[in-house]
């Protein structure tokens, strides 16, 4: 479970990114996080990932309070979180297999097990025939699939997606959304997006942010800004 309790985040020089935000996401839930640029979506994701710590309030991830600046077990926590970025963050000098294996190698997993897991992830995202391809040989949609596959491997049951379809055309966006639909039962997914069509079509819980404040939290909402 992820829980935000009156969380505020003020960046240095007084820029307030979040203002007393409270919500909870249950295990296995799919939540859209919507809002205009600067609304605080990325800050929420960064707080869950432990990249930031709150100025006030508390953040609980997997029932562990990670609010303290000197929280020591970030590595352990992050091993349960998969992150997908708008700009993919696929390493150009590694092929598809190596990119996906990155998250498994850090667990010092035996290579045979890495191979099995990577191939399962490739099958999930439909890239099983592009294992040895390098990023330069892939389209934007394929790159995002690599990033999704990487985020899904290992024991990562929380998926944080920061505008993952932001750089994709509508058809590719729906291909990507199909992958999310396939895994949503087994993962907790927090999906930050601007994409009105995706949010309105999927009818999932929607948390709407504006100017650092949570203004709406609808169980089966739509994009309403």
């Amino acid at each position: 479970m992820i829980q935000f309790d009156s969380v505020s985040k003020i960046y240095p020089f007084g820029n307030a990114a979040l203002d007393s935000v409270s919500f909870a996401v249950e295990r296995g839930e799919f939540v859209f996080l919507v809002g205009t640029s600067g609304a605080g979506k990325t800050t929420i994701l960064k707080l869950i990932l432990g990249e930031l710590y709150p100025t006030s309030g508390s953040v609980l991830v997997e029932d562990v309070d990670i609010s303290g600046k000197r929280f020591k077990k970030l590595e352990t926590l992050r091993r349960h979180i998969g992150v997908i970025f708008q700009d993919f963050k696929v390493l150009p000098d590694k092929n598809v297999f190596e990119n996906i294996a990155l998250g498994l190698r850090i667990l010092d997993m035996p290579f045979s097990k890495i191979k099995t897991e990577v191939r399962e992830a490739l099958a999930l995202v439909g890239l099983h025939d592009k294992e040895q391809f390098f990023p330069v040989q892939l389209s934007a949609g394929e790159l995002q699939r690599v990033a999704i596959a990487r985020a899904m491997t290992g024991d990562r049951h929380i998926i944080l997606a920061d505008e993952p379809t932001g750089n994709l055309d509508p058809k590719t966006t729906w291909d990507i959304m199909k992958i999310f639909k396939k895994v949503e039962k087994h993962k907790t997914i927090i999906f930050a997006t601007h994409n009105t069509d995706v949010v309105n079509t999927l009818k999932k819980r929607v948390i709407t942010m504006k100017g650092g404040k949570l203004i709406k939290d609808n169980a089966k909402g739509g994009y309403d800004l």
Partner: protein, 301 residues
């Protein structure tokens, strides 16, 4: 091994720069280490020689010489006095010049003087003993080695201090260079490191390839330096041998252990290699540890 090769191929110029910095430092360090151990060996050798030697005229009788020996032993100012007769001196001369028949032909036992080799119990007694020996009837010459020992001691002290200062400077410079090179290498892999950290990689995991490469380069450079240095010594061996002609062996005292430095012993060569390799590995590892610490730490804001 594959990961190591990939890592080296990924940043070949940085790896080469790291190798050459280590090579230069280790070569100079080995040169210093070698010179110092040899100098200390030479100092021990000279200190172990008789500190005062008195040579007697040919007509001086053995009984008179033994009388002087007895007086010296009773003075309480000497640890030992060794009588070297004409025949013993001749035997020593033959042994030292066994490869030069011309020199052997020119000298007989008769023309070599008998002598007393005196070891003072304290260096401060040396002038007194020398003064006493100068007045002994039948003396031909008194050889007083205090100056030689003092000069060698002074030289050793200067070389040691100079070496330490130079070594410190070398260490500092090399560490800075290695840190800078490693910074470059880390910066080139910044995206990958950032991603690894976001995915939960421990600092030790992220640091591992850099450390592995540093340890490998430390080992490789020290081994190549040692091989090159051995080759140089092999070429210079005849010259060293001729310079140290007559010196049976040079050794230095290491706590309870006497390490023979000349002729080169397996222990001495092994110790030089071991120290050099350890030094190479340690300096490379330290610089890498220091350089990676800054970039790899998770910084929450």
């Amino acid at each position: 091994m594959n990961e190591l090769i990939t890592s080296l191929r990924r940043t070949p110029y940085q790896s080469l720069a790291m190798f050459f910095s280590l090579f230069l430092t280790l070569f100079l360090s080995l040169l210093l280490m070698f010179s110092l151990t040899f100098l200390y060996g030479l100092l021990s050798y000279v200190e172990a020689r008789p500190q005062v030697t008195i040579y007697f005229q040919n007509e001086t009788s053995e009984s008179s010489i033994l009388e002087v020996k007895k007086e010296l032993e009773q003075s309480g100012k000497v640890t030992s006095v060794k009588y070297v007769s004409k025949n013993e001196a001749y035997a020593l001369y033959r042994d030292l010049n066994k490869d030069n028949p011309l020199l052997l032909e020119m000298v007989s036992a008769e023309i070599l003087p008998a002598s007393l080799e005196i070891f003072a119990s304290r260096p401060s007694y040396l002038p007194e003993l020398a003064a006493y020996l100068e007045k002994v009837p039948g003396k031909d010459e008194v050889n007083y080695q205090k100056n030689v020992v003092e000069k060698l001691l002074a030289l050793t002290a200067v070389v040691r201090t100079g070496s330490l200062a130079f070594f410190g400077f070398l260490m500092f410079t090399t560490t800075i260079i290695l840190i800078t090179i490693t910074h470059f290498k880390v910066a080139l892999r910044k995206d990958e490191i950032e991603l690894q950290r976001l995915m939960g990689a421990k600092a030790s995991y992220v640091r591992r390839p850099f450390m592995r490469e540093a340890l490998f380069l430390g080992f490789l450079s020290s081994t190549i330096v040692f091989a090159k240095f051995s080759l140089l010594i092999y070429v210079a061996y005849p010259y060293i041998q001729s310079y140290l002609r007559g010196v049976q062996s040079l050794s230095i005292d290491l706590a309870q252990y006497k390490l023979v430095v000349w002729p080169f012993s397996i222990e001495y060569v092994g110790m030089l290699y071991l120290i050099l390799t350890l030094f190479g590995i340690c300096i490379a590892a330290f610089a890498t540890l220091f350089a990676t610490k800054k970039y790899i730490a998770i910084q929450r804001s």
